[in-house]
């Protein structure tokens, strides 16, 4: 009898010492991971698996020498410009099309097809077209982000409560005022969700294009590292990329929280899908 209660309670109320224990556990897991990593590199050799220490020290070395910043900068630049080129039309289009459900219907299979198709498969094509410079990466990032943001925004625009629009119309709002004051604010959460989900993909797209063909960027660093059996450099670049992805996510979440203070807290966003 008492056993049953114990297990039930364990799910509901955490015991007082909980916070510290969780931090300790997490630290423990971190130590274990690093230990395994170290052991692994000792077994397999540094050429195959760099050591934790080597990775960390090289990370900071490259950071302070500016090299890491330079290459990260390229990757970020590509992602950012691509996100703007792909994201802005993707946000605008549903608003423009709002008044014409027929046009939306006509476009729908093309958009769905574009969304479902492997945009990353276009990477070689863009490299063929634009060469190994920035443009090919930007093109791919834009393609990837466009469809994701388009559908998120479209959902937001469609899900709009028609009664709010009606209320504003009764008060004399013009089409423009409706778009600016009602439809856009209502769609903002969805637009954010679109970017939140799409940006990791975008950064991944930039990296992957760099891996195939580039002379700069984090993907380039990984590729060169591997070619020179310099796994340390590989790891440093991968680590930098991961940090960037998380930082961007953090930034988007933070901005969202700021702009969406008006939302009741029960609306949670769940993200699925890896990078």
């Amino acid at each position: 009898m008492s056993n049953a209660t114990a297990t039930i309670d364990a799910d509901v109320v955490p015991a007082p010492g909980w916070r510290w224990r969780t931090h300790f556990d997490r630290l423990l897991v971190a130590v274990v991971i690093v230990a395994l990593w170290q052991v692994g590199s000792m077994i397999f050799g540094v050429y195959w698996l760099s050591t934790p220490w080597a990775t960390t020290s090289r990370f900071f070395a490259m950071l302070f020498s500016g090299e890491l910043i330079r290459h990260s900068g390229y990757t970020i630049e590509e992602s950012f410009i691509g996100a703007v080129i792909g994201g802005v039309p993707a946000v605008i289009l549903p608003f423009v099309l709002r008044r014409s459900p027929i046009l939306v219907s006509i476009l729908d299979p093309f958009m769905v097809g574009g969304y479902g198709s492997p945009k990353l498969a276009l990477a070689p094509l863009f490299i063929l077209w634009f060469g190994i410079g920035l443009e090919s990466k930007i093109a791919l990032v834009a393609s990837v982000l466009f469809f994701i943001v388009y559908f998120s925004t479209l959902t937001g625009v469609r899900a709009l409560d028609a009664k709010l629009v009606q209320m504003a119309q009764v008060m004399g709002a013009s089409e423009q005022q409706l778009a600016r004051k009602i439809i856009f604010p209502a769609a903002v959460p969805n637009i954010f969700a679109g970017f939140r989900i799409g940006l990791p993909y975008a950064i991944g797209a930039a990296v992957i294009t760099e891996l195939i063909s580039s002379n700069r960027g984090l993907g380039y660093l990984v590729q060169v590292g591997a070619m020179n059996f310099d796994t340390t450099q590989c790891f440093v670049a991968i680590l930098a990329a991961t940090i960037i992805v998380h930082a961007v996510g953090f930034g988007v979440d933070g901005t969202e929280r700021l702009l969406l203070r008006w939302r009741p807290s029960s609306e949670a966003t769940l993200q699925a899908g890896g990078n």
């Binding site: 364990a10 195959w48 027929i102 094509l125 993907g219 991968i238």
Partner: protein
């Protein structure tokens, strides 16, 4: 003043062309426009950048006749499927195992979420170093990419399980395994299927992309190889095959879902 009878005719009057027809015609028109644009693009930019539609069609026929396309499709699907299975199994098992221990869950949760931020493709060169050019690097990448989808969904699903049902089951004496199997698994079903639906096309996609970097076969390899040879027609043809493949997989999965869940009153769709 509109009389009742006039009102009847006013309302009953159907538009001359039904909306459905307009939409279908519009789509056809857009498709034709795209092909024309493609042709125009080829003529303007030259065949180095833009393969002529007819050439691409011819190449596709060649590839089909020679069987090359099937060899590549098989290679891609082989790795995608295995990766999909591995990733899904791991992605489903782990949340269930973690369910038993809140402590373990909290301990490793940040690391799993943290690892989600790693751009998996970036691991490819390092994996090639280890395993050479073959199936394994692609497999690892596909598995890694697939893993997170069911993991996040199943995890959320488990957390979302009505705790009252679980408590009830415990009180009547059900073992943890029984609870896992009955209460949780059933509550989980919609999340699970949604994640499968997303994961399979994603797996194929990931495999194709992986093949850009590491391969001697597969659809992705064909595209990248063509690019290296400046075989623009090949690049275009390969992209057509890749797109068709992924869209087809998508379509099949959607069809299966519709069939399997036809009886369901509500749709619990998680976006992406």
């Amino acid at each position: 003043m509109t009389t009742i009878d006039q009102a009847t005719t006013l309302l009953e009057r159907e538009p001359p062309i039904s909306r459905k027809t307009i939409v279908i015609m519009g789509r056809a028109a857009l498709a034709v426009l795209l092909v024309i644009g493609w042709q125009a693009g080829a003529e303007t930019f030259g065949s180095i950048f833009f393969a002529y539609p007819m050439d691409v069609v011819r190449r596709l026929i060649e590839l089909t006749v020679s069987g090359q396309v099937f060899v590549d499709l098989y290679a891609t699907l082989r790795v995608s499927t295995i990766g999909f299975v591995l990733g899904t199994v791991a992605g489903v098992l782990l949340p269930f195992l973690l369910r038993r221990s809140k402590r373990w869950t909290e301990a490793i949760e940040p690391y799993v979420l943290g690892s989600q931020g790693i751009p998996k493709y970036a691991l490819a060169p390092w994996l090639i170093l280890w395993f050479g050019i073959g199936d394994t690097p692609k497999l690892v990448i596909v598995t890694a990419m697939v893993f997170y989808i069911p993991f996040v969904n199943v995890f959320a699903g488990i957390r979302g399980v009505d705790q009252r049902l679980v408590k009830m089951a415990r009180i009547v004496g059900a073992s943890e395994t029984k609870i896992s199997r009955e209460v949780i698994w059933n509550s989980l079903m919609p999340f699970f299927f949604t994640s499968l639906k997303i994961a399979l096309p994603r797996a194929v996609s990931a495999c194709i992309v992986g093949e850009f970097l590491v391969s001697t076969e597969g659809v992705g390899h064909y595209i990248e190889h063509a690019r290296e040879l400046s075989d623009t027609v090949g690049v275009f043809a390969g992209i057509v095959v890749a797109t068709t493949l992924v869209l087809a997989v998508n379509g099949i999965v959607e069809y299966l879902e519709r069939r399997a869940l036809a009886w369901r009153p509500t749709d619990r769709d998680m976006v992406l």
